[in-house]
């Protein structure tokens, strides 16, 4: 695992092309299935260009991997779904424009749960990604390819998207750092929508500093996303090794039934480490946490049923044999979507349909208000909240995939954050039986600076982030 600083030194002494070629080789010989598409020619050509012309950008010559639901001009973008077979976007997402301006080299598109609907990267049409810490286990999801690629040293930096935990969960399972920013901080222009009121693009790296550097590049206002927020911030400057006086709230509701004993112990040890460094603990109560999971899934599925209506085989992707209008679209969608996507579209349609709208969709939106209020109240006393990212370490491939509800339950600690739209960062904080454990540091709206500082201070005073999976 190499940091941006280390790679910069190597690029100055040698070349970006050499580094990109090295990573390409690692991807080529990998058993993780972290990538759907490797942009080999493009990446090498871009690296060469940067070597010969020079580039002043903060990521000049550094390879970055992109989750396959983020549009990349000229590079296949599939959302890990059969329905987007052969789709090559004619434009770049805002974050891709930003990366290119900063000199980054797009090395490929990473594997994910189909349309980002999952917690394990097992629903991909292109087969599951494996966790480098134990290849019989899942990397988490839905941005599992991005996290596994960073953990397996196949790329130093990656982008994912987080609708209900899809950056933080795989960061936790793969032992890397992952950030879900405040809703609106990063433009969603070019992110293929799943649940638009919940999702944000987020960065992955092996250190908090690298996450902040990547975040600085991709954050910022974009008129093409009407929910984009106009705020200029320098996140890297927030990185100070200092938590003295920081007030940490620890919501006991996040250590509920089903939380692994070692996860609970490890996260508490991390909290005590921060206390030893000068932070203090304050009491917080978040009584509606228990209902977040249901509210989240109802809202996400409802939004998905609407967002995924665009996939009909007319403008892009799979087209089956033509029949009449309705039958053709129904058959294209039946042939193109996988089981989990179909189930979510059906349940979302149900929750929005006449007779059930108020019972499910409207009720979930009201519960969302109560969850948001829990956060507002907690942040009156606390500067940050700390909780486990996931209730347990990575589970085995196949263990939960046949029981959707048990898979949904794994998201219990991550979904409330998306409902409230607040930022949260997952950092490695220990191990259980050689599997990484992540803790999340949750902040107030637009207060990424404080969660980054907390995570950075923890990292500077511990060495969990320096451990690497054997053989990678």
């Amino acid at each position: 695992m190499a940091t941006i600083n280390e790679l910069n030194e190597r690029i100055h002494a040698g070349s970006s092309e050499e580094i990109v070629a090295e990573y390409l080789e690692r991807i080529d010989s990998s058993k993780l299935n972290a990538f759907i598409t490797v942009a080999k020619e493009n990446a090498l050509a871009r690296a060469k260009e940067i070597d010969s012309e020079g580039h002043e950008g903060s990521l000049a010559g550094i390879p970055v991997a992109i989750k396959d639901n983020i549009s990349t001009k000229g590079i296949l973008t599939t959302c890990a779904s059969k329905i987007l077979t052969g789709y090559v976007p004619p434009y770049d997402a805002h974050v891709i424009e930003r990366l290119k301006e900063a000199g980054a080299v797009i090395i490929g598109k990473t594997n994910m749960d189909e349309f980002a609907m999952g917690t394990s990267t097992e629903t991909s049409f292109y087969g599951p990604t494996r966790n480098p810490w134990d290849t019989d286990r899942v990397p988490g999801g839905s941005s599992g390819g991005s996290a596994a690629a960073v953990a397996g040293s196949e790329v130093p930096l990656a982008l994912g998207s987080d609708t209900g935990g899809s950056v933080r969960c795989p960061a936790s399972f793969c032992g890397v750092v992952g950030l879900k920013p405040t809703y609106g901080v990063i433009s969603r222009y070019g992110l293929i929508s799943y649940a638009n009121s919940l999702e944000q693009i987020g960065p992955f790296a092996t250190t908090v500093r690298d996450v902040a550097t990547l975040f600085d590049v991709i954050a910022g206002y974009d008129a093409r996303d009407s929910t984009s927020v106009d705020k200029e911030v320098n996140y890297s400057s927030a990185l100070k090794n200092d938590v003295s006086g920081l007030k940490i709230g620890v919501p006991e509701e996040y250590f509920g039934e089903g939380t692994d004993e070692n996860v609970e112990k490890t996260v508490w040890n991390a909290i005590h480490t921060l206390e030893d460094l000068g932070a203090t603990r304050v009491e917080v109560k978040m009584p509606h946490t228990k209902y977040a999971l249901s509210a989240y899934y109802i809202i996400a599925m409802s939004e998905a049923s609407s967002n995924l209506a665009r996939f009909d085989g007319m403008r892009y992707g799979l087209r089956t044999e033509d029949s009449d209008w309705h039958t053709t679209f129904s058959q294209v969608r039946a042939a193109g979507f996988g089981d989990e996507v179909k189930r979510r579209i059906l349940l979302g349609t149900y929750a929005l349909s006449a007779g059930y709208h108020d019972k499910y969709y409207l009720k979930a939106l009201k519960v969302r208000t109560l969850i948001k209020q829990d956060f507002e109240l907690a942040f009156k006393d606390a500067d940050v909240l700390i909780a486990p990212t996931m209730p347990y370490p990575a589970f085995k491939l196949g263990e939960k995939i046949d029981d959707p509800l048990s898979l949904y339950l794994a998201d219990v600690d991550t979904v409330p954050i998306n409902l409230a739209g607040v930022p949260s960062i997952s950092v490695p904080c220990g191990f259980s039986h050689e599997l990484p454990i992540g803790m999340q540091v949750i902040g107030k709206h637009f207060d990424e600076a404080t969660i980054l500082r907390t995570a950075y201070t923890f990292e500077e005073n511990t060495d969990f982030h320096t451990r690497e999976p054997e053989g990678f």
Binding site: P90, T349, Y360, R368
Partner: protein
């Protein structure tokens, strides 16, 4: 409880053809999720406003001009991924 005929109706509304096998397979799984969602009935939401968006949403206006804020795709770009096209148009299936 979702019955088979409800599922068929959802499939129609969502333009998603379901095989007999799909219906058999999905019904118990969807019902176990819906059962779980039933826990929301416990929450007192009397007088609580729904939250559609987490941040205040303002209407965003723009000048009525081409290229603002995004440069539109050319016809060729827009059609570049179409599985079926004819004379510069997307080719749709017949209506009836």
């Amino acid at each position: 409880m979702i019955a088979k005929k409800d599922l068929e109706h959802m499939g129609w509304l969502a333009r998603l053809e379901l095989s007999e096998e799909d219906k058999e397979k999905y019904t118990p799984k969807l019902n176990s999720v819906l059962d779980y969602f039933g826990e929301l009935d416990e929450v007192d939401t009397e007088g609580v406003e729904p939250t559609y968006h987490i941040l205040p949403m303002n209407n965003v206006f723009r000048e009525d001009e081409v290229n603002v804020p995004a440069k539109p795709l050319t016809q060729e770009e827009a059609l570049s991924n179409a599985p079926k096209k004819q004379d510069g148009f997307f080719k749709a299936p017949r209506m009836m």
